[in-house]
Each structure stands twice: as C-alpha cells, then as structure tokens.
Amino acid sequence: MIAATPPTEIKKNFFNQKQGLASWLLTYDHKRIAILYLLGVTFFFAIGGIFAALIRLELATPAGDLVDSNTYNKFFTMHGIIMVFLFLIPSIPAVFGNFLIPLMIGAKDVAFPRLNLLSWYIYMIGGLFIITVLLMGGVDTGWTFYTPFSTSYSNGYVVAAGMGIFIAGFSSILTGLNFIVTIHRMRAPGLTWFRLPLFIWAHYATSMIQVLGTPVIAVTLFLLVLERGLHIGFFDPAYGGDPVLFQHMFWFYSHPAVYIMILPSMGVVTEIITTFSSKKPFGYTFIAFSSVAIAVFGFIVWGHHLFVSGQSAYAGMVFSVLSYIVAIPSAIKVFNWTATMYKGAVRLTTPMLYALGFIGLFTIGGLTGLFLASLGMDVHLTDTYFVVAHFHYVMVGGAIMGFLGGIHYWWPKIFGKMYNEGWSKISAVIIFIGFNLTFFPQFLLGYMGMPRRYHVYPPEFQVLNVLSSAGASVLAIGYLIPFCYLLYSLKYGPDAPPNPWGATTLEWKTQSPPITQNFEVTPVVTQEAYTYTTEEVVHVG
C-alpha cells in the first residue's frame, strides 16, 4: 500500500541536487540527458510540424497558389527528414528509454553515461546540419534520397542533409548499444529476463534494430555523398551503377526503422494498459517475444518498397509473403492488449485514452499495410495518398500516440507534478478526432488515384483535401493544448506521489522525481514485474 504523504519541505531530487546550466550540459545522469533529448525532439517536432502545416495549407486548393512545385518539394522533404530522423527515431527511446530503463531495472545509470551524453551532442550536431540545410534553402529529394536524382540532378543541399542524417544516425547507434549493454549487465539482483517490464523488452528489440540497421543507412549515405560530392559513382547509370541497389540499401535500414519508431511505442502502451487495467498483461512471454519477432522479421521485408522498381517478380513474391508474416507478431500484441483489459479494472485516465487510441489507429495502419504488401494492390496504390495515409496511421497514430501516452503516464515521475486531468482528456479526444479527420480522407484520395508529392491536383479531389487540411488544424490545436497545461503543471500543479497510478514496476518504487542515484538502496527483485493484488491497487486521479 502506497500512500501519498504531503511534502513538508523540498526533497532532494535530480533537478535540485546540482544547479546551473553547466550541470545540465555536462551531466552524465541518464534522467537529465533524457530531458535534454525531450527538449531536442520537441523542438524538431515543432519544426517538422510547421512544414506539415504548410503542406496542408497548399493542398487546401487544387491549384498551386501558395508555392511553386520546387518549393513544395522542399516542404515535404524537410517535413519527412526532420520528422523521421530527428523526431520519430529518437523520440521514445532517447527520452523515455533513457529515463526509464535504468529505473525499471533498478540500476543507478546506463552502462556508459559519458557515451550517453555524447549521443545527445551527436544528435544535436546532426540536427544542426539539417537546420543549416533548411536555412540555406532546403533539399528537394524526398526523405528517401533516391538516386540518380539526388546524386546528379537535385538542386538542394543533398550532401549537407546526408551528412546530418549520417551524424544523427550515430547517436541512434550509440543509444542502442548503450541500452543493450545496460539491459544485459546492469539489472538489479533477482531481476531475471522474464521479470523485466515489457517496456524493456520492447526497447531491447528496438536497440537490436538500431545497432544492426543504422550502420547500413550510414554507409549508404556515405556512398551517396561520395557520388554527389566526389563523383566516385556507385548508383548512377552514368557511372555504370544501378539505382535499384541504392533503394535496396536504403530500405534495408529504412523499413526496420519503422519498427524503431513503433516498437518503443508498443512498449509504452503495454505498460499503460497493464497499469490502468490493474491486471497482469495477458501472455507476458508472447508480448515479449513478439517484440523480438517484429525486430527480426522487420529486417527481411524491405523489398516491398521495390515492387515497382524493377525488382524481379520472384523477389517481389517472397517479400510480399514475408511482409504478411510481420502482421502475426503485430496482431499478437493487439490481441494481448485487448485480452489484458478484459475483466480488468479499467480506468479511463489520459494515458489510457492515448493507449486505446493507439490500438485502434495502429490496427488500421497495420491492416492497410497488408493491402500494400500484396503485389497486385500495390501496383495500383504505389506512390498514392493511400501509402501516405497508411504510414501516418502507424507513425502518427501509433508512434506519436504512444509518445503522448508516455508523456502523460510518466510526467508525474519525471517532473514530480500532476497535470490537469480535464484538459488532458479533452486534448486527447481532440487529437484523436483531428488525426482521423486529417488522414482518413487520404485513404480515399489514394484509392481514387491521387498521387503523393504533387502540389496541384484535379478539382474533384478538393472536398477530401479540404477535410484533411481542416483535420490538420484540429490536430495542431490538439498538440498545443498539452504543451500549455503540462508547462502550467510544472509551476502550479500539485506534487505527485511516488506512485500515483498504482503501478507495479520499479520506477514507481522511488520518489517523484527520483534522486540522482535513482534509489536510496539498490532494490532486490523477488517477483515478476506485474504482480497485482487487490490491496496494492490505489486509485488516484
């Protein structure tokens, strides 16, 4: 039984144990580094969001009346590059993974704290490159950098953008490496693999992808830069090369990268659903191994991005079948979350609303992925808005819903403050409505044949495009509200007790916010992660 005691004086915690700007910029504390990352990804999310807004503004009318096509190309390219490489990939692992992995496994820090800080600086330097590209006039290749356009014809700053992603990639690699070693070597006494929270399993699988996949995009961009900058050619037929090889190498990373974005989110959702159902997750081992299975299968499906690129028909068939197989571990997760709620004491708190939204939107995103994995359908749907809607359901409806769910779930732990439940529920509903209004019409547009990456379109598509743009403005408001009440809570919110949700994992056993060393005494674990008894369930908020 955990009771909230009213604080009599300001307790020691990782915010007030050291003070001053230098104590933040030179910190080795994983919790502070997580907050540095939170500032970074929020900044880049805002920049990427501005480009999304510009895209939707342009598409409100069929004519190209806001910008010309060159500028529009730069809009969607900058939106894609910033959102994928500087927001989605680092978002949950670098913020929540950093903050929570040591806490959840009862460690004092990650295995390599200095490397952890270095990762943040590398990430920011990579981001600086991208921002520089932006200020100089942008890049117009699409976030996919397909050759030979990117190496021989593009007028944008391809080399600088490629360097930025190359550098940011090393941040991702080092973070993944740090987590793998931390999870292997830093667990508290008694914390066996099958006592780990499922969030840890999800991050372990994510780290595997980061470590195995990211070096391949790094070398691909290295070759791209050599070809564009030094004319040492690999992909351009003018140099004897083959552009399809670039696509193979690009997607060998960039498809698994989708799972870097979604797996941590699944980990977050698993924690939230378990806590707010006050029930052990249904099928712990299935959820744990489905994360690993998604990571493994994720590496052998990249060819489904090349169905119309001149890849052989037999390769296409194999990649199609393999792509269907990824649906199995994904579906296992959805079934298990649903079964966890069944006969649980479900509480509809804000994090739970995001988790429920995640399940619905991820399911739509996942099932429409099956349309695209089938060869015949894909020929019709390739490069249409159907694809755009599909991956936004997974990345925005999945990854960002998970990110927001995580923010609301762990906010009391990270900052030691409770936010306003009324406002947070309203904004969760607004985001859900705004999201669907933005992206559902795009399924219809794509199915009717509207191609992506064009800023003019036939007038008959206008109604659905206006709906989508309207939805985008609702979504933008939905994102701004949490920004306000969360910042408000930092100053005026009531103090959070150590365990406001009645959760069972280790991070809730220490105070909120935790002390720099995380725990006063190293915890010794004697039970599974999710052991609920009726006495332990506490209803607060």
């Binding site: 295995a111 490496l177 195995l212 996949g213 391949v216 140099y239 083959d242 056993k509 190293t522």
Partner: protein, 237 residues
C-alpha cells in the same frame, strides 16, 4: 511487487577515477563485463557498416565480371601483398601488447604499442602511395578516368570499370579511415601506458582497443583478395 531492500555496497556519487569502479557499477567485474559487451556490440555495428560496401561489391561483381576481372589487374599485387603482411604483423604486436598488459610489464606494453603504431603508419603510407599512383594513371573515377591495361589497350567492358575503382576507393578509403582513428587511439594508449596506468587488474582500454585493431585487420584480410586477387589471371594480358 514485494521488494526487500539491501544497502548498496558502493559509495554512490563518488567521482569517477581511472582504473576504479565508476559510481554506477556494483564492482570491477561488472564494469569490465559491460565494457567488453559494449565493444563487441560496437564491432557488430562495424560489420554492418562495411557490409553495405561488400553488398555493393558482390552485386556489381556478379553483374559485370569481365569489367572487374580486367580492372583488378590494375592493382599492384606486390605492394598489396606486402602491405597485408605489414598489417598482419601489426596484429601480432598488438596481441603481444595486450599480453604484456595482462602480466604487467609496463615497458613491453609501451614497446609493442609503438611497434603497432609504426606498422599501422607504414600501412597507411603505402596506401597513400597507391592512391597517388592511381591518380597519376587516371584510375580515379570522375577525374579524367581512363583505365588502360599494361599493353595500353582500354580495359575490357569500359562502361563498368569505373565501378571497380569506385568500390576500390570506397572500401579501402573507409578501411584507411578506421586505421587513422586507430592510430589516434594508439597515441593516447602509448602516453597512458608510459605513465603506468595499465595494470594486470585494469587494462581494459588496451584489451578492447586490441579487439578493434584486429577487426580492422580482418576487414583488410577480406579486402585484399576481393580487390587484388580474384580472377586476376582470368584476363589475357
């Protein structure tokens, strides 16, 4: 979950010192384990990093065997073989440095690290000579590229020979960058070793750098046959 509690043995918050257990580890063996696992995971990322280039090599070698066989005759077999020997010797000296670190012979650690440095430097100098030679012979793709056989005739399948040289420079260039990083770390290790920082109880940096150095050597062991040897004699001179 019920959790009993025990008092953590190490003094939390103590400043990290060289050769000592840092504050977030329970003991020295946990610290060493973590560093070793970390190094191996890093080497896995390196395998994937070079892997992309090997993939490109195999794809194009398969597609244009004649161009590759012809162009590979323009690499200098004698120099390549000699340089391979130099690099293998440097692995031996590195292994000896690790060995002497483990038994605490300070002067021998320094000696063998310096020998490793010299051999690595030799390799890089020879590589620089080879690059210069290629530049003079117009064998750098994109810069007045003109591949000729020994008799002065154009290389076979001239449309695709630039690919071979692109891969040659891409692969050996990336390898050389790893060597340069290695040389930099060696300089650091030598200064530390001279101060007697490495003891039988703690010499993790020497040991882990050894892993890195051997890895870079092994990459070359693959590069040498791929670029210098395979199908070299398949083409009429």
């Amino acid at each position: 979950m019920d959790s009993e509690t025990v008092v953590a043995p190490s003094a939390a918050g103590a400043p990290p010192q060289h050769g000592h257990v840092e504050h977030h580890f329970e003991d020295a063996s946990q610290q060493k384990d973590a560093a070793t696992v970390g190094m191996w995971v890093f080497l896995v990322t390196e395998v994937m990093f070079f892997g992309g280039l090997f993939l490109a090599y195999f794809a194009y070698r398969q597609a244009y065997p004649v161009a590759f066989a012809s162009a590979s005759n323009n690499t200098n077999l004698l120099i390549g073989a000699a340089n391979t020997t130099v690099l293998i010797c440097s692995s031996l000296t590195m292994a000896l440095a690790v060995h002497f670190a483990a038994i605490g012979k300070k002067n021998l650690i320094v000696l063998f690290l310096i020998l490793t440095l010299l051999l690595g430097g030799t390799f890089l100098s020879v590589k620089a000579y080879e690059y210069h030679d290629k530049w003079v012979k117009h064998e750098v793709p994109g810069y007045n590229f003109d591949c000729r056989t020994d008799t002065g005739a154009p290389c076979a399948d001239a449309a695709h020979t630039p690919l071979f040289f692109s891969l040659y420079f891409g692969m050996t260039g990336l390898h050389a960058m790893h060597m340069i990083v290695g040389v930099g770390i060696l300089l650091f290790l030598i200064t530390q070793a001279r101060k007697g920082r490495y003891t039988p109880a703690w010499h993790t940096p020497v040991e882990l750098f050894g892993l890195y150095w051997h890895f870079v050597d092994i990459v070359w062991i693959f590069l040498f046959p791929l670029l210098y040897l395979i199908d070299r004699s398949a083409m009429p001179k």
